[in-house]
């Protein structure tokens, strides 16, 4: 089976590209790392890849708003990127990449009244790095096939999923697009929601399911030793996050 090729797109301030590439490689993909300016020079380059990934970081310093400047640049490639998706490509945005995808319109969160959702400041008002338990919901998104429950770290200040209104939230949930939720630590407890996200949403996909944005960092849980409790729990051979990347590779098998 030929390895699918992943285009990892970076911008000034992107900073999770190396470990994200490593995760895709561990899952069996080939990766190429490109500056967004090169793609703007030659948009057709995206067609040589099956998977597009926007890793975490602080693109353009998150000046103005998280992911805003990067997203505006991607908007100029809107036609190309929509064609990429329609032709069966997968796209993954992690943390800042989720913020970029959401603000670029690629997650289908815009209607006649403008954007229907955003990622706002955490209710704590602070950047937070900690681990959360997540639950994959439904079967719409190939990245999360068979994942079920998993533990991953979050590390962000602006990850609070905030819909414009209840109707906008209902639409997203009803369409089965709220595919990753913060879960309770114990049965019956409220979800361990680290940032005040509406409906405990940690990840959202587009209408096709093939574009996924999520706040947690699956690339930070590829090896068991990345888990904070690896010295006290049996965690198996691989970290839980690897499944996300393996699913993307398996999708093209």
């Amino acid at each position: 089976m030929p390895s699918p090729s992943v285009l990892i797109l970076r911008a000034p301030g992107t900073n999770c590209e190396a470990e994200t590439a490593f995760a895709f490689e561990q899952a069996g993909a080939a990766t190429s790392l490109e500056h967004v300016d090169r793609l703007l020079d030659n948009p057709a380059a995206v067609e040589q890849h099956q998977i597009l990934c926007i890793p975490g970081g602080f693109s353009y310093g998150d000046d103005l708003a998280a992911g805003r400047v990067f997203a505006n640049r991607l908007r100029t490639l809107s036609d190309t990127l929509h064609r990429f998706r329609e032709s069966g490509g997968l796209a993954l945005g992690i943390c800042n990449g989720f913020q970029v995808l959401l603000k670029s319109g690629l997650l289908d969160t815009e209607d006649d009244s403008g954007p229907s959702a955003t990622l706002a400041w955490n209710t704590s008002g602070r950047y937070t790095d900690r681990w959360v338990t997540l639950e994959a919901v439904g079967d719409k998104c190939p990245f999360l096939a068979g994942v079920g429950s998993l533990e991953l770290p979050i590390a962000h200040a602006e990850g609070r999923f905030l819909p414009r209104d209840d109707a906008a939230l209902s639409t997203l949930v009803d369409e089965g697009r709220a595919v990753l939720r913060y879960a309770p630590l114990a049965e019956g407890a409220p979800a361990d929601n680290p940032n005040g996200s509406a409906a405990d949403i940690a990840g959202l996909c587009d209408r096709t399911g093939r574009v996924l944005g999520l706040m947690p960092h699956p690339e930070r849980c590829i090896a068991p030793t990345q888990h904070p409790q690896w010295t006290r729990r049996e965690l198996g051979e691989a970290g839980a996050g690897l499944a996300v990347f393996k699913n993307a590779v398996a999708y093209f098998a």
Binding site: P12, G13, T14, N15, C16, A18, E19, F22, A23, H35, D37, R38, G56, G57, F58, Y60, G61, D62, D63, L64, A65, R68, V69, N72, R73, G114, P115, S116, A117, T118, A120, W121, G125, R126, Y127, T128, D129, R130, W131, P153, A155, L162, P163, R164, H217, E219, R220, I222, T225, Q226, P228, Q229, T231, R232
Partner: protein, 975 residues
């Protein structure tokens, strides 16, 4: 024309900035519950902007319409001044950067606006506040202390009243000379102060003689260059100078104190090791380099940024991190930063606001600003901040300490650098502005209540994303071999960077070529500006175009500003005209030698009587709640400690992921099992008794923290950072020399080489008290030891949380009656006592034997004993693991069987560990320690009870549920 966009959160989202202001105002006693509203604003300078364009700018760039609402209009529109929620007596306050202060968000906005095809000349960020119910005095204090930082921002109360964004004025070239040949000694000293040169009298006289000989006066740029190069900050003239020392260890005369103590120890070790020498580059580059991986070495550097952080905590700490990262980028031919460390010393956050001397920021605000400054730089650069410490003492009130460290990974063939004659001098990265003028000289002076107004310009503002771009470009250029040497622009700016790189060759610079942020900078300002995010490369002419193109592709500006011309001189030109010329020899070796006297007398040992009682649970709770011991989770969680994907042992571990790790472990090469352990040791309280033992204890703490997680004690490199008071005082200098001697002794005994270090002297704050008397607060002598250990296989690492009920608990190391400077003494306000000492040979045996046991897999968890001794270590292990523990103090290895219960519980004797060992490993564990003659004993076991119980033979002296212990430990610094 000036336009304004005001942005506010949509209801019901909170106005977080207003909440911050109200909280700070309450903490400072200005108003119990302040009525305040805020808006985030952008000012746009643009000639033609129609309503449609303004709307597009607002909604595509500035406003998140789901979470925010906005108003956009000409800045003069009175509607913009109206409070969002109407009310009586609201005063409008605008806060905006002073002209010339770095405003990175505004620069991004300008570019993004042009991307949208909308013509905007300039952007400026601003904040607006509507404040009610304060009188003029209180409003002024709120403005100065909460709303704005006077060092970088200005306040406009009432209408905005400006119609354009000011940047800088024009500059008319005029060569400045400084007539000093005819000055008297007193006049020279006055000049040194007023021109912010901060040179010693003998140094000023040497300069005067030189220019008398030359028959002319120096130009301003020549004098500034000398002052920068000779500053304490750049040359470390005190500690690298001649010192006549008299102390309890006898009299010694040093030609170069550091070279003859700490460096000499490393040199001896390297000779001893011969072919097995694992040091690569020590004490000469920006960071020390040691061997690690077949393809890559490790570099480590720790810097301080104390004075800027005292004036502007956020910017000072922010640029402290940025600076040490550039040190790593500028080591060898460029190392890749892989993790950061941070250590802070503050006055207690409970300090009464009305007890603050003039010019001092409240420690709570200092702490918050420093943490946020470190957070925002490290997180944005994508460098995990993995280890640190926070110490509190009243004497840090006017002079907080901020230590920032960075570890780098460098290809083995890139560890050396050498500029070649004829190479171009290339500046890359940020533009030069008027920020950070006189940082190097200012940091070598004493802080005073007037420092803020005198040296506002010394504060720099960071832009982490610029530095990230520079790092990306620099490391790519390194891999292509496009330059022969690199160094960072730190203190002293171009003057230091070019002066150092060209020391052996000579250099000619053309200052008008340096890109500037705005017009109006003089040639001297360009030369000494400490504007951030700049690096200097020496580039062979043939590689220039390729380097230029590579930088351009990363959005990094690269400019040729001169060449390393083989003249042996530093020649400075502006628009073709020579403005200064200095022989490299005079610059680097012309400083007059000064012999300083240093004396040290340790404090007299006095008895310390710990409280006698049956139940020491309240004492344990008090120590757990003490600031130095208490959980730092509220700080740690704000740092990204996992980016780069190499996290192995996190700062917080255990069943709830909130127990305090001894050290952090990362795996910098993702497909290799090798790990790096990072830890630190610091305990200024011991220095009040004897700085020798303070230093030894700090080294012991740093090393045992590394060993506790699994690092090999034969591969631990150390860094020293001395922060001291005014070393022109003989006793102060003496206390430092004594600490340096301890560093030498332990380094040699343990074969733990020092590879880099940095000192910051003159950490004193003076002011006039209410009665008009001059008061000075000197910090306690504060030595930070940072340790970098190596781990062959990270799967052998252990953490400190208890793992399983029924496992045995072994105390390793000898407990003695060493309560001097302890936390038991602190919480009871007791003085005296024996300071903890280190016995080097048994300690070395202990480290190696314990490491062997850990490597053999015999240890389930391991925690070092430090502040609060055995009781605190046991409590932390228990609550981190969610388990109870039962211990018997009578079983502990002691040097004297009559040792009291409180000493057994709380003594801070060095080189001790509490280890959890599973029953089937006990035989192997005890055998390994016994063979090496290491004191150890089984003192108890982990239990299912959820209670920590400590007996002394038949008497219970501590018993508490772990939830209670943990709450005491977590509550103090929770927010």
């Amino acid at each position: 024309m000036l336009w304004e966009i005001d942005i506010r959160p949509v209801a019901p989202l909170a106005d977080a900035e207003a909440q911050r202001v109200a909280r700070d105002a309450a903490e400072l006693g200005l108003a119990a519950s302040l009525e305040v509203q805020s808006a985030k604003c952008y000012l746009l300078d643009a000639d033609e902007l129609d309503a449609e364009q303004l709307k597009r700018l607002a909604e595509s760039l500035f406003v998140d319409t789901v979470a925010e609402t906005y108003a956009a209009a000409p800045a003069s529109d009175p509607g913009l001044a109206a409070p969002p929620a109407p009310g009586d007596g609201q005063t409008l306050v605008h806060v905006l950067p002073k002209p010339g202060v770095m405003d990175p968000v505004a620069r991004s906005a300008e570019i993004a606006a042009r991307d949208l095809g909308i013509p905007v000349d300039a952007v400026c960020t601003m904040r607006k506040y509507w404040v009610a119910g304060l009188d003029d005095d209180a409003l002024a204090r709120l403005g100065e202390q909460v709303l704005a930082n006077d060092a970088i921002e200005r306040l406009i109360v009432g209408p905005l009243g400006i119609d354009r964004i000011e940047l800088g004025g024009d500059y008319q070239f005029e060569l400045q000379t400084v007539p000093l040949r005819d000055l008297t000694d007193d006049e020279l000293n006055a000049l040194s102060r007023t021109a912010q040169l901060y040179l010693q009298p003998a140094e000023m006289q040497t300069i005067r003689e030189r220019y008398r000989d030359l028959g002319r006066d120096p130009t301003d740029i020549e004098l500034e260059t000398i002052a920068q190069t000779w500053s304490e900050h750049c040359s470390h003239k005190t500690l690298a100078g001649r010192i006549a020392y008299r102390g309890p260890d006898g009299e010694q005369r040093f030609e170069n104190m550091l070279r003859e103590t700490i460096f000499a120890a490393t040199e001896q070790l390297r000779e001893r090791w011969g072919d097995d020498d694992w040091c690569v580059s020590v004490f000469r580059d920006n960071a020390g380099i040691v061997r690690f991986h077949p393809d890559a070495h490790l570099a480590f550097k720790v810097e301080t940024h104390n004075h800027p952080s005292a004036l502007e905590p956020y910017g000072g700490a922010n640029t402290g991190v940025g600076g040490v990262i550039r040190d790593i980028l500028g080591t060898g031919q460029g190392a890749k930063p892989i993790c950061n460390t941070d250590v802070f010393c503050f006055a207690p956050p409970e300090t009464e606001a009305d007890s603050l001397p003039p010019g001092v920021l409240h420690p709570r605000l200092v702490m918050r600003g420093v943490v946020e400054g470190v957070r925002d730089y490290g997180n944005r650069m994508g460098i995990p901040t993995v280890n640190g410490a926070v110490c509190f003492d009243d004497r840090y009130l006017g002079n907080p300490l901020v230590y920032c460290g960075c570890v780098g990974l460098i290809p083995t063939d890139k560890a050396e650098k050498e500029p070649q004659p004829g190479d171009l001098i290339v500046a890359i990265g940020g533009r030069t502005g008027r920020d950070g003028i006189h940082g190097a000289t200012f940091s070598s002076a004493e802080l005073t209540s007037e420092s803020e107004s005198l040296s506002g310009g010394a504060v720099q503002i960071g832009n982490a994303i610029e530095e990230k771009k520079v790092a990306d470009a620099l490391l790519a250029a390194r891999d292509r071999g496009l330059f022969t040497a690199v160094t960072d622009c730190g203190a002293g700016g171009f003057s230091s960077a070019v002066g150092e790189m060209g020391e052996e060759i000579g250099a000619e610079v053309h200052l008008e070529k340096a890109p500037v942020k705005y017009a109006g900078l003089s040639y001297t300002e360009i030369w000494i500006s400490e504007a951030q995010e700049r690096m200097v490369l020496s580039v062979p002419e043939g590689h220039w175009q390729e380097l230029h193109d590579l930088c351009a592709a990363e959005g990094v500006e690269a400019t040729v500003i001169g060449a390393f011309t083989p003249t042996g001189k530093l020649t400075m030109k502006y628009d073709g005209q020579q403005v200064g010329e200095l022989p490299m020899g005079f610059l680097h070796d012309g400083r007059p030698p000064v012999v300083r006297e240093a004396v040290y007398t340790p404090a007299k040992t006095r008895d310390l009587s710990p409280p006698k009682r049956d139940d020491y649970t309240p004492d344990l709770l008090a120590i757990l709640a003490a600031h130095n011991v208490a959980s730092k989770e509220s700080i740690i969680r704000q740092y990204d400690h996992e980016v780069q994907g190499g996290s192995v042992v996190k700062p917080l571990v255990g069943v709830r992921m909130d127990g305090p790790s001894d050290a952090a472990v990362i795996r910098p090469v993702l497909d290799s099992p090798q790990g790096v352990a990072i830890a630190c040791g610091i305990n200024p309280r011991y220095g009040d008794l004897d700085t020798y033992h303070m230093a030894a204890s700090a080294i012991d703490e740093a090393v045992r923290n590394c060993v506790a997680v699994g690092a090999d004690p034969a591969r631990i490199a150390l860094l020293d950072n001395f922060c001291w008071g005014d070393c022109e005082k003989n006793e102060t200098l003496g206390s430092l020399v004594r600490a340096a001697i301890a560093c030498r002794d332990l380094s040699l005994a343990w074969e733990t080489p020092f590879i880099s270090g940095k000192d910051s002297l003159n950490n004193e704050f003076s002011f006039e008290d209410a009665a008009g008397r001059r008061q000075t607060i000197a910090i306690p002598p504060t030595l930070l030891i940072s340790a970098m250990g190596q781990i062959p296989d990270i799967r052998r690492c252990v953490t400190m949380d208890l793992k399983r009920p029924g496992n045995a608990l072994y105390l390793v190391g000898l407990t003695m009656n060493e309560l001097g400077g302890s936390h038991l003494a602190l919480v009871h306000n007791l003085s005296g006592g024996q300071v903890p000492k280190v016995d080097p040979e048994p300690a070395k045996q202990t480290f190696h034997a314990l490491h062997a046991a850990i490597t053999a897999g015999s240890v389930a968890s391991c925690h070092d004993l430090s502040e609060g001794g055995l009781a605190v270590a046991a409590a932390e292990m228990a609550f981190a693991g969610g388990l109870g523990a039962e211990l018997d103090l009578a079983a502990a290895p002691v040097d004297d069987d009559s040792l009291s219960a409180p000493a057994r519980l709380f003594s801070e004797s060095n080189t001790r560990f509490l280890c959890e060992v599973a029953p089937d490993h006990e035989a192997a564990f005890t055998e390994a320690l016994t063979l090496a003659s290491v004191d150890h004993a089984r003192i108890g076991e982990a239990t299912e009870t959820g209670t920590l119980t400590i007996r002394n033979a038949d008497r219970t002296c501590v018993t508490a549920p772990i939830g209670l212990l943990k709450e005491a430990w977590q509550r103090t610094l929770r927010n």
